[in-house]
């Protein structure tokens, strides 16, 4: 019925409303970039609140920051950057159509992501034990009691939403693993891996900003 259904054999991944795989790829890639733009604005609201309160209460922020576990934070930063490397290698392998290698790199990315979340939960647990969760149970030295709560409110919401993005990322990686496993990802159709990689890198970059802003405040002065 559709006239264009007759002119050439379609790639199985080509959706009916696109003219070519190239157009479909460009649309998906642009879509992901626009989505990441919305994410910048989403996190931007929190970075704005952070910037204002840190400028207003620098001493309290420095003191509260020292309560964070810099060793675990640093390990997590390394873990996450490594996961970005394995993600990039997965995309590269997908471009070359090396299915097995893609699967291995996706597994590595997921394992590293899970390690990050594991370490993050250990940190959260410590904060909970130390009564550093804002709210009625919050305990801190009296001088900084009020403003340190602002710091920890920001710490939990920023790292919490970052962690949520990691969880979603792990879900996406599982789907990518499944698609690659069943053979849908090929050298001429690897775009899903590529744009999932964009998302993964974005989430990593958010952490690259969070780590110094939350963990390293005023380190040089101590």
């Amino acid at each position: 019925m559709l006239p264009e259904a007759t002119h050439h054999a379609h790639h199985p991944a080509l959706a009916h409303h696109f003219d070519s795989l190239g157009q479909q790829k460009e649309a998906a890639t642009l879509g992901m970039w626009v989505f990441l733009g919305t994410e910048v604005l989403f996190f931007g609201g929190m970075f704005l609140a952070y910037a204002i309160y840190r400028a207003w209460y620098p001493a309290a922020f420095a003191v509260a920051s020292h309560e964070l576990d810099i060793t675990l934070g640093t390990i997590n930063t390394v873990v996450l950057i490594t996961s970005s490397l394995t993600m990039a290698l997965a995309v590269h392998a997908a471009q070359l159509g090396q299915r097995k290698l893609v699967l291995w790199f996706l597994v590595a990315t997921m394992v590293l992501g899970a390690v990050f979340l594991g370490i993050k939960s250990v940190e959260y647990y410590h904060k909970f034990e130390e009564h550093h969760v804002p709210g009625p149970g919050f305990q801190f030295e009296p001088e900084y009691f009020r403003h340190a709560q602002l710091f920890f409110s920001l710490y939990f919401i920023m790292t919490g939403l970052h962690a949520l993005h990691m969880v979603i990322g792990l879900g996406i990686m599982l789907v990518m693993f499944w698609w690659t496993w069943r053979g849908s990802i090929t050298a001429d159709y690897y775009n899903p891996i590529e744009i999932s990689g964009l998302y993964w890198h974005f989430v990593d970059i958010v952490w690259i900003f969070l780590f110094p802003l939350l963990y390293l405040i005023g380190r040089h002065g101590v």
């Binding site: 409303h17 649309a27 931007g44």
Partner: protein
């Protein structure tokens, strides 16, 4: 003229039954799903307005308690802004028209498009839950610390509903941006696109850049209310004004989410019913982008009395004046298009004229409010209420109804009763002005907004306003009746009942599921009324 017949195969008969609608990926069917949704919530929001105007018919607070009144205006605002005005034109008319106007088969992401409707309905469900289980009294603005620390009403489910619905807005905007960039038919260059596409594109930019900010803001309010985190809590050094900055960073541009698409509709209507190329096409196109950009820089004019620095207020005041420039460019260009045009007075054109007049009044009174001194005088009075209703009701709803009437034959394949439609357009225009013009005077005389009682000397103007609201309500019900009626009994429209140009009029009414039998190749400019192109005229 040959006998008009329905095309044998079109999107409405491509599958029957509830599943063929609920699982559709067709942008045209999704547009109709949205149409059902926004119409329903329009009448829910309207019901609250009825109660508000009934209460205000007498000076004493006698119909409802002050607390109930707080809930009424809050729920009116929440329903109308988030569940009607913001999605109305983009999600209904935009969804239907974006692919057709640029010669594509569908939006770039049809599944995401369907998902956005479900997300919208899920958000609406949360907010409806908040309403039926006791309501919300924070005002649609959710100002802290009242919303985080004091209000005992259903802030969380209502806020959650708005948070969720925001994602439908983001996904719709994202879909439009990618579609307009990547799916245009051969020859459909940017500057051959209808102006409705430009305004939809500009609107989409605001949707994807602004909505995430309100999302995070609502999340921070929720975290403060539920987990006792302290982002805006002054007792912990937090700043409630920061909430206002974040809120208006989205909610002022949101005004342009509401009115920009209506402006796009008006450009289409004016060209079609004056049989002329829109005067200064490029200026109108860039004015849309200009409004989108400037719209992000003026939020502070909502906060002139909120403890903002004087210098910030001055800058926001000047920037707010600048928005008037692209807005006026549009008004002048529509007027110039009408000048010496071959104007025909069909219903959509009546709405277009109504829009131009009412938007001009709404826009000029906006300049009053952009001036710091005058704004301080009328802040939180009915002057503000009148001003934004002139933009949102006089602007957005006029544009929406005008567009709905103009494209209804395309959507349904049938014509409505023109005499009845003209009559109701007139009723709406009269009812609207009678409702809201007295509110300018009330506000200027000092009647504050958001009170359920007022001094007796304001009664005459309030009674006029309430009377106008009844007329307006009737005006909105009449189209419901004749449009529904036309679905079954209306005369068949044929592919181009208005003799208009534009790709949407080259395909059948209703269009086939894939929009065009063959992908069109565009060799003409938009609104090419002067030189008919072969195969392009009905």
């Amino acid at each position: 003229m040959a006998t008009v017949i329905l095309p044998p195969r079109h999107y409405l008969n491509d599958g029957y039954g509830i599943a063929s609608w609920l699982f559709t990926r067709d942008h045209k069917r999704i547009a109709l799903l949205y149409l059902a949704g926004v119409t329903f919530f329009f009448f829910v929001g309207g019901a609250f307005a009825v109660l508000i105007r009934l209460e205000l018919a007498t000076p004493a607070g006698d119909l409802v308690s002050d607390e109930t009144y707080n809930k009424l205006f809050t729920m009116h605002g929440v329903m109308m802004v988030f569940f009607f005005l913001i999605p109305a034109i983009p999600a209904v008319l935009g969804n239907f028209l974006v692919p057709i106007m640029i010669g594509a088969k569908d939006l770039a992401f049809p599944k995401l498009n369907l998902a956005s409707w479900y997300i919208y309905m899920l958000g609406a469900a949360f907010t409806t839950y908040a309403i039926v289980t006791g309501g919300l009294d924070t005002g649609w603005t959710f100002y802290t610390p009242f919303s985080t620390m004091s209000s005992t009403t259903k802030v969380i489910p209502a806020a959650l509903g708005i948070f969720v619905t925001g994602f439908s807005s983001i996904l719709t905007g994202l879909n439009f941006i990618v579609t307009i960039h990547r799916m245009r038919a051969p020859g459909m260059t940017w500057f051959r696109m209808p102006l409705f596409m430009w305004s939809t594109y500009a609107t989409s930019l605001i949707m994807v850049l602004g909505t995430p900010v309100i999302a995070i803001t609502i999340l921070l309010v929720a975290a403060e209310r539920v987990f006792h985190f302290g982002f805006f809590d002054p007792t912990r050094g937090g700043d409630p004004i920061l909430f206002q900055h974040l809120f208006w960073f989205y909610s002022h541009p949101a005004v342009y989410i509401m009115v920009l698409p209506a402006m796009g509709v008006i450009s289409e209507l004016v060209a079609a019913f004056c049989r002329k190329q829109v005067f200064g096409y490029t200026f109108v196109a860039f004015a849309s982008l200009g409004i989108a950009v400037l719209g992000f820089l003026v939020w502070g004019h909502h906060m002139f009395v909120a403890g903002q620095s004087v210098y910030a207020a001055l800058v926001f005041s000047i920037l707010s004046f600048l928005v008037a420039i692209p807005s006026a460019v549009k008004v002048f260009n529509w007027t110039a298009t009408m000048y010496k045009g071959s104007i025909s007075w069909e219903t959509p054109m009546l709405y277009a004229i109504g829009f131009i007049g009412l938007f001009t009044i709404g826009g000029l009174t906006g300049l009053f409010l952009a001036s710091v001194g005058l704004d301080v005088h009328v802040t939180d009075t009915y002057f503000i209420v009148a001003h934004f209703h002139y933009i949102m009701v006089g602007g957005t709803i006029m544009g929406y109804l005008g567009g709905l009437h103009y494209w209804w034959p395309k959507i349904s394949g049938r014509l409505y009763n023109e005499a009845l439609a003209k009559f109701s357009a007139l009723v709406i225009f009269i009812g609207f002005n009678l409702t809201f013009f007295p509110q300018f005077i009330l506000g200027y005389l000092g009647m504050p907004r958001r009170y359920h009682a007022y001094p007796p000397e304001f009664q005459v103007l309030n009674v006029l306003s309430s009377a106008g609201a009844s007329i307006l309500g009737v005006g909105y019900l009449i189209p419901m009746v004749y449009l529904m009626w036309s679905l079954r009994y209306g005369r068949l429209a044929g592919s181009n009942p208005w003799g208009a140009v534009g790709l949407e009029w080259t395909t059948t009414s209703p269009p086939p599921t894939e929009n065009f039998a063959e992908t069109p190749v565009v060799t003409w400019d938009a609104y090419d009324y002067g030189a008919p192109v072969e195969g392009h005229v009905a």
